[in-house]
Amino acid sequence: MSAILNPVVVLGGLGLLFGVLLSIASKVFAVYVDPKVEEILNALPGANCGACGFPGCAGLAGALADGKAPTNACTIGGQKVANHVAEILGVNAATFDKKVAVVLCQGDCDKAKDKYKYHGIKDCRIQTTLAGGQKECSYGCVGCGSCFDVCEFNAIRMINGIAVVNAENCTACNKCVEICPKNIIELVPYESHAVVKCMSKDPGKLVRSYCSVGCIGCQICVKNCPTDAFSFENNLARINYDKCINCMVCVEKCPTNAIDNTSIISEEFAKRFAS
């Protein structure tokens, strides 16, 4: 009998002893945790993408509870999460201006010339190290799809040699912006549809020689814009999205169609995202 009883008593007794000691210790070392932190953490998407600039969702939850972050800090959660967080904190929700990533290049295989054929590892960062990539334009999308690989939200497709972002899937997590070696992916407001899709700082004549949809620096958009939303620098037109009213005058006037209306979706685009 004691052969069974002894181990049970010894093990049970020790377990009980340590349990009691630990419960005393937990009272002595009790740390007050704001219950709001837990609640906010549950309201956040939990993707731990880091787009808010805090170390993961837990980091943002802590900052939100301390009032150190705006309620719309979570870029992928959108207005819904902002409202929910504001509700928990008992403050008014900040309006959430949704942004989406846009690839500022339209020079696909038909429109832009190549200077050589790249047959290496399928990674834009590697291709760029070889004389700046296979495209003759040293500013354009090299089309190896590093942004596609890094996108966790299924928002990027490679269509005819360039990356295209689907605004509906994009959560503005900034990952593609960071990985692009050409720095041609930009976050623009979701509501702004006129975008200068070119980053070439080359003079117009040179741009014309290698790409049919590049910005040639004619400044027609600058002259025609009713709200002075355009700025012109280094042979390249840029739109100030705060001033843009989506009148689409620039899109119509642009002689090379370098300014694109992002709300118009091509058949190829729709097909690729449907599949």
């Binding site: 181990p7 010894v10 093990l11 020790l14 340590f18 630990l22 210790a25 740390v31």
Partner: protein
Amino acid sequence: MSLFAIMISSILVNNYVFARFLGICPFLGVSNKMETATGMGIAVTFVTTLASVITYIIQHAILNNLGLQYLQTIVFILVIASLVQFVELALKKISPGLYSAMGVYLPLITTNCMVLGVAILNIQEGFNLIQTTTNAVGASLGFFLALVLIAALREKMDIADIPESLAGFPITLIAAGLMSIAFAGFAGLV
């Protein structure tokens, strides 16, 4: 064996990481920054020393008397787990920064085989209480030393130009292997 010999043996000659290959998980897991490495070293030192003393007392006062030596492993694990829980509670209160920096590796001290290894080897070697304490302190200092050495190397390697395929854990493992060979040079010292 004199206490000094035990100490030198457990720190250098039979270093628990480099010679016995125990406690490799935290050795690789929390050695990327000097600060967390030091914190982990202190936490492990505390747990190992205390666990060795308590397990020694339990072994000789309870298990040997009742002929329950076969319960050794489970009882020792119970002691270690409780101590780790205690350290976790204390650390959360005393140093929240260190607590979050150590993350999952803190509760994983429970399964750090070095802690259990030291406790069991103490019994197997037939040490008395003072020798046990010495060996435990030595073992944890040896672990501390290994952790700090590799952390210092890794901080340097972070900024060094390392081939991409080797960057990160591969080069760390190579460095750890070389350090282990270097520590083999202490063999025969005691």
